[in-house]
C-alpha cells in the first residue's frame, strides 16, 4: 500500500498554515517540496565537509569531491546513462538547453533546419530562436491539436537531411501531455538529426532510460525532483559531448593553460567551468535516493490515480474546462472557469491556503492556440491526497460563487 500519510511526515513544509488555512500545495510542476532527508543532506554538507572540489589535497576537499562525484553516478544510474561522464551537472534545465544551443552554433549552416514542438516552455523556444539567428538556420514547429497532443504527420513527412536538430519536451509543463518522444527520436535519427529532450516536467513522474530512448541530449532540474533549486543535469551522448565546444571558460574546465593556448579538460569537466553548486549536486543525489526508495513506479501509479480522481471531481463543476486531455498525461490539470479570469480564481484559492499556478506558464504559444490569456494549473505530487483534491474542488466552487 502507498502510505501517503507516512510520506507526508517527511515534508516539514506541508505542516504550514497559509492565510490561516492548512497549506494545500498544488504547484508541484513549478517546484516540488523538499523532504527532510534532502534537507539533512544539505545541512550535513555545510556542517561537516564544505570545501571546494577536485583539486584540494586536504581531507574535506576529498570528501566533498567524492560526494559530488557519487551524486553524478546516482544521476547516471537513475537515468541509465552508459557512462558517468555523460552526465553534466548544471544549474538546471535552462542551463542544459543553453549549453547545447550554444555548442551547436558553429556546427550548423544557413539553410539547415531546427524543429521544436508547439508545446514548448519558453526556455525551449528562445535559445533555439537565438541559435537560428546566429547560424542562419530555420526554426520549424511541430503543431499541436485541440486535445493538447502533437501532430507528427507533417513533421515526419518534412524531415530531411537538412534537419539537424529536434527539440521537444518529454512532458508539457502547461498541459501535462506526455509526448511521443520515442517516435520523434527514431524519426530524427533516420535523417541524421540530433534530438534534445527537455525532461524537466517528465522526470518527477517518469524514469527515463537514456540508453533505451537512444536520445542524444536529455535535461532535468533537481528542484522538480524534491531536490534544491539551482541544480540539475544534462545527459549527452559521449560522441556529441566530445564534438561540442565548451560552453563557458574558467577554472575546472581546463587541462593546461598558457597564454598561447589552452587545452580543455575531458568530459564532464569541459562543461563544468568554475566552482559548481557542490551542495546542490550532492542534494540532487540525495533526492534521487529518496524517490527511488519509494519507487518511481509506485509514485507514478499513485499520481495517476490522483489525476483521475481530480479530473472527475473538477469536471463536475459547471462551466469548468480542462485544457490538455491527451490520452497520456502526468498529474497536471490546466483549467479555466467559464467567465472567470485565471488570475481571479488563483487569488481566491490562495486565500484558502491552496497554492496553484496561474498565467501562461511560460508557454504563450500554447495559450495562443487555445485563444486564452492563461489557465489555472493544479499539479499533483505523490505527497498530495484525495482530501486535498476535495479542498481544491471546494475552493474552485467558492471562487465560482464569488466571481460569477
Amino acid at each position: 500500500m502507498f502510505d501517503v500519510a507516512r510520506i507526508r511526515e517527511d515534508f516539514p513544509i506541508l505542516k504550514r498554515q497559509v492565510n490561516g488555512k492548512p497549506l494545500v500545495y498544488l504547484d508541484n510542476a513549478a517546484t516540488s517540496q523538499t523532504p527532510q532527508q534532502v534537507i539533512d543532506a544539505i545541512v550535513d554538507y555545510y556542517s561537516r565537509y564544505n570545501a571546494n572540489i577536485h583539486r584540494g589535497v586536504h581531507t574535506l576537499s576529498q570528501e566533498a569531491t567524492e560526494a559530488y562525484e557519487a551524486a553524478r553516478v546516482k544521476i547516471q544510474k537513475h537515468f541509465n546513462a552508459a557512462k558517468a561522464h555523460e552526465i553534466i551537472l548544471t544549474s538546471g534545465t535552462t542551463h542544459g538547453i543553453n549549453l547545447v544551443a550554444q555548442g551547436f552554433t558553429d556546427l550548423l549552416h544557413p539553410g539547415e533546419e531546427i524543429w521544436v514542438s508547439a508545446l514548448e516552455h519558453h526556455s525551449n523556444i528562445v535559445p533555439w530562436q537565438m541559435l537560428c539567428e546566429r547560424s542562419g538556420t530555420r526554426l520549424r514547429v511541430i503543431p499541436m491539436n485541440e486535445t493538447g497532443e502533437l501532430e507528427l504527420e507533417g513533421f515526419l513527412k518534412e524531415l530531411s537531411p537538412k534537419t539537424r536538430l529536434v527539440f521537444c519536451n518529454h512532458v508539457s509543463n502547461a498541459l501535462g501531455t506526455v509526448n511521443p518522444i520515442e517516435k520523434i527520436i527514431s524519426a530524427a535519427h533516420q535523417v541524421g538529426a540530433a534530438v534534445l529532450i527537455d525532461g524537466a516536467q517528465a522526470a518527477p513522474h517518469i524514469k527515463a532510460d537514456m540508453q533505451a530512448l537512444d536520445v542524444d541530449f536529455y535535461t532535468v532540474s533537481a528542484h522538480k525532483l524534491c531536490g534544491p533549486t539551482g541544480a540539475g543535469a544534462l545527459y549527452g551522448k559521449e560522441a556529441w559531448l566530445e564534438k561540442l565546444p565548451p560552453y563557458q571558460g574558467g577554472g575546472e574546465m581546463i587541462a593546461e593553460v598558457t597564454f598561447e593556448k589552452t587545452t580543455y579538460a575531458g568530459l564532464p569537466h569541459k562543461f563544468e567551468a568554475g566552482t559548481p553548486n557542490i551542495c546542490g549536486g550532492i542534494a540532487f543525489g540525495a533526492a534521487l535516493d529518496y524517490l527511488n526508495a519509494i519507487g518511481m513506479d509506485r509514485i507514478a501509479a499513485y499520481e495517476h490515480e490522483l489525476l483521475a480522481y481530480a479530473t472527475e471531481k473538477l469536471l463536475a463543476i459547471p462551466g469548468l474546462r480542462i485544457y490538455g486531455e491527451a490520452a497520456q498525461k502526468t498529474s497536471v490539470i490546466s483549467f479555466n472557469l467559464e467567465g472567470a479570469h485565471p488570475y481571479d480564481v488563483g487569488t481566491i484559492l490562495d486565500k484558502l491556503g491552496i497554492a496553484v499556478r496561474t498565467g501562461h506558464h511560460c508557454a504563450q504559444p500554447v495559450m495562443d492556440f487555445y485563444r486564452i490569456p492563461g489557465t489555472v494549473r493544479a499539479s499533483f505530487s505523490f505527497y498530495n491526497t484525495r482530501q486535498e483534491v476535495d479542498t481544491l474542488v471546494a475552493g474552485v466552487g467558492r471562487a465560482r460563487q464569488m466571481l460569477l
Binding site: H341, Y343, D344, I348, K351, G359, P373, G374
Partner: protein, 144 residues
Amino acid sequence: MEQNGIAAIQEEIVEEFSLFDDWMQRYEYMIELGKSLPKIEEQYKTDDHLIKGCQSKVWVHAELVDGRLVFTADSDAIITKGIIAILIRAFSNQKPADIIAAKTDFIDQIGLKEHLSPTRANGLVSMIRQLKLYAVAFEAQLES
C-alpha cells in the same frame, strides 16, 4: 485640505472596508466596486494604455478636465478591476499635483497589503505608478 481631497476619500474607503470581518467579504465588496468602475472607452483599450507587470490586463486612460485629472480604466480580471476601481476613486477628479503628492498607505489599511508587494502578479504597484506617471506628465503640461 479641501473637502473631497484624496486623503478624505481614502479615509472613506478605509471606513467602508472596516465594516467587514473577513477576507471574503472584503473581496466581495471589491468585486462590487469593480462593477462601478468608470469604464475606459473601447478606442483606448490599446497596448499604449496597458499597464505592464500585471498577470491580468489593465488599461488606464487619463484626461485633463478643468485642471483635474479624470481616469477611466478596465481589466479582464474581476479582482483587478476592483483594485483599479478603488485607486481611481481615490485619485480621479484631482489636481495632478495632489495626485503626485498623495500617500497610498490606505491600501494597507483596507486589508490588501499582500497586493502591495512588488512581486505580486496583479501589479498593484504598477497601477499606482502608472496613475502617478500620468499626473507627472499632465503636471508638466500645465506648467509649460
